[in-house]
Amino acid sequence: MIVPITTQSAIAANRFGFGARPGEIAAIGRDPRGWLLAQIKTRYRAPGELAGLTSSTVILASFLAARAARAAQKKAAAQDAAEDTGKDPGKALVNGVRELLLPHYVAQAAARTRIVLGADASFRERLVHFWSNHFAVSIDKPICLGIAGALENEAIRPRIDGNFADLLLAVESHPAMIGYLDNQRSLGPNSELGMRVARRRAAAAQAGDDTAVPGKVGLNENLAREILELHTLGVDGGYSQADVTTFAAVLTGWSIGGGAGRYAQGEPGAFVFRSGLHEPGAKTLLGRRYAEDGMEQGRAVLRDLATRPATARHLATKLARHFVADEPPAALVDRLAHAYGANDGHLPAVYAALVNWDGAWREEPRKFKQPYEFVYSSMRALEAAPREPKALLAPFEALGQRHWNPGSPAGWPDRQADWDGADALMQRIEWSVALAGRVGDSHSAVGAADAALGGLATRHTRSALENADSGSQALALLLMSPEFQRR
């Protein structure tokens, strides 16, 4: 069946973008595919909303300093235990650290939301969100609270239209990812520092002095495992526990600058390679041998991972699932994986293969909107968004999808069953009523339906809007209509 071109324009705005703003479907005109592809051909320029945000280096440096101060204060308090007042000095500082970071989080999340609400190129913005979720960090880990948005803005946003390998290298060497997956102190047993600690342990044991034994140090395999499982090959990508452990050894030394005394190295809060933590020697991973080359060893592994067919297939599956259907058609996954391989991981070629696949333009929507997509598209359709940052961000929290807070390195799930709970639906209804109430009764719901959905609005929904009690009730019905809940 041939989908009318105006309906295709509505699909371009809603399925590929973050929802049509008034006038957008008409502006897309007669070339919806060209409209999408133009968005990824444009040279990257940082959106104006990002101006004024503090860099991750500065934020992280202040976090590390505050944490060090807290530790020192706790230590002092422990020494003064005799005059203990019953208060926990650490507690006040915990709150202090949070207060230090929260404004950065709010500023980053508000900027992200405003970029989307004002975006003409909302397909590009959707891709930013897609990759940010692929490389998820989560603000429930204190080290990420202030810099989760910075990871997106500094490492991801400028690289979604280049090669995947460059994106991968930028993300894995960003302090937010290093800190989220605990790599900053992962240490090779035979590294300079590892050997020093081992000697001190042996000496203390020989002297029979239990209190002088330094703590055990060594590998942490969290980052290595999640790169293989989530960022590149995928869980069935053919790696073993031995590959995880070896990769963790490869990545020792990928750390965060700062530290005190002899451990001070690099710019505080910035990525640093600490050669003293790096496990020396050649390593064999997934059948390939990597000569000892300091930090270059890890970069070489990452570049090779980016070229693996399992990586192509893993990324192709996720993209197809995000844009087309929860269970993506095999033909599309094959097509995207092939485009990835044939173009050395050049991402725009993959996006083009997606946009140019006819099956992606079926009229019937197969994706149920996640909360953030629903909030974005509602605010875009009604051109209604609170100015005050906390109010702007409140709906994401109320509907269960706070920015950069998936709670796990796997990111937010991307299937309907993860989002269509009964209570979730009720919360969407409640929020729709509140938003529609703010917009008021003067707004024409039928007009808004035409502008937001074009030919996708059904007769059933149009008649429900016409028969509503009030303008704002009609708007709430529009937002909660089956076709607006999907894309």
């Binding site: 703590g215 961000l393 709970g421 009964a422 009523v433 909660m480 089956p482």
Partner: protein, 407 residues
């Protein structure tokens, strides 16, 4: 404007019990007829079972765990003794009371069928009840509900959405406290019409109004919910505790759902895990409170209740290089409740020595978790043995445990 409650009183599909529960907040009902309550608490992220249930009697325990080892009972901040060999983490004093009441069954060195180390695949296997991560799109608890069809047992997810364990052909509700104002019932009627051609959305809408009716009578005032206005605090123990207590009352209501699932995240302690105090200790203290809140909420139904606390897999025996533990295999689980034949540790202890471990690094699993879940389905929920192969496929060799609940 009529209140949601009055509106619901006019809808036909509601039972009288739910109406009473909604109309008379605070009234405690006597033990209700119908199925016995069963709650699953999933600890996502892989709980360190060797800290939650320290085997202080194992000769290799203290050395393997080093700085994060839990001391013996009687030591400062030592374990709470269970049976002279196993203990509970000192942050679990309320759970320890359940042990003394004979209401806590501890299962150790247990695992699902999954033997790799991905959280997400591990959770899939835990929840789908099979032997493969992608084995099934439905959860074993939903298939259990299917096997109990017609016996007045409904399912409830305690959260906005439904986790895999409860997903499947049997419709289940979900509930979480909302900070948004309630909507006019008239709009619900209009949406019901708007969804008349949409089977998914209309089913969800029906479930949502039903659960709201139950919760209306049971929810504490909004001010009692921890959380407040802060934009970035994860849903912590305070909020979960409030949800648990309300959920207990919803489950205990005469027409309440009998089977519920609560998720608790944040157990992935790769760095700075801590021992008797610290990161994990704080989480466990929160869990202790949540479980007790659930018990209080269930009130008179507690003696008929079983609560399963489980996680996708355990963590490494040895501490890693950053004072945490990495993904492992054998884990600990709890079954507690007035219906539970407790005061026992169910474990075929493999030992912690290097040669006794799974792949040289993890606690070796010796008890299939499905032995426990099968026993719960049979003994506690009254599922027919014939239904087990459908609920737990590809597990013919896993025999149900015996006498996990009191007759």
């Amino acid at each position: 404007m009529r209140s949601r409650r009055e509106f619901l009183a006019t809808t036909a599909h509601l039972g009288v019990g739910a109406l009473l529960a909604g109309a008379l907040p605070g009234v405690t009902f006597a033990a209700a007829p119908g199925g016995r309550p069963f709650v699953v608490v999933i600890l996502r992220g892989a709980l360190d079972g060797l800290s939650a249930v320290p085997p202080f009697g194992d000769p290799d325990y203290a050395a393997a765990r080093g700085a994060i080892a839990i001391g013996r009972p009687g030591d400062a901040h030592g374990a709470l003794d269970l049976d002279g060999f196993f203990g509970l983490h000192p942050s679990l004093p309320l759970l320890h009371e359940r042990w003394h009441a004979g209401e806590l069954l501890v299962v150790h060195a247990t695992a699902s069928a999954y033997r790799e180390r991905s959280h997400f695949d591990g959770q899939n296997v835990l929840e789908n009840g099979g032997d493969r991560p992608s084995g099934s799109a439905s959860g074993w608890l939903n298939r259990t509900l299917g096997a109990l069809a017609g016996r007045g047992v409904d399912g409830l997810a305690l959260g906005q959405n439904v986790p895999l364990i409860l997903r499947g052909p049997v419709p289940v509700g979900s509930w979480a406290p909302s900070r948004l104002p309630e909507v006019e019932p008239e709009l619900i009627t209009r949406l019901r019409d708007l969804y008349s051609d949409d089977t998914t959305l209309s089913a969800r809408l029906d479930e949502a109004t039903r659960m709201e009716a139950l919760a209306d009578g049971e929810a504490p005032a909004a001010g009692a919910m921890a959380g407040g206005s802060e934009a970035a605090r994860p849903y912590g123990g305070g909020r979960l505790k409030a949800i648990a207590e309300t959920a207990g009352r919803m489950i205990a209501a005469p027409d309440g759902p009998r089977i519920a699932v609560l998720d608790a995240t944040g157990w992935d302690t790769h760095a700075g895990e801590g021992g008797a105090q610290g990161q994990l200790a704080a989480r466990l203290g929160g869990l202790d409170q949540v479980l007790d809140a659930l018990r209080r909420g269930l009130g008179a139904e507690w003696p008929r209740t079983a609560v399963l606390v489980c996680t996708e897999f355990g963590r490494t025996v040895e501490v890693n290089g950053t004072r945490g533990t990495d993904h492992g295999t054998g884990a600990a689980a709890f079954l507690l409740g007035g219906a539970v034949h407790g005061g026992r540790v169910l474990a075929d202890w493999p030992g912690l020595g290097a040669k006794q471990r799974y792949e040289g690094r993890d606690l070796k699993p010796t008890t299939d978790l499905r032995a426990l879940t099968k026993a719960i389905a049979l003994e506690h929920l009254g599922v027919s043995a014939r239904a087990l192969p459908d609920i737990f496929p590809a597990s013919e060799l896993v025999r149900p445990a015996r006498d996990v609940v009191r007759a």
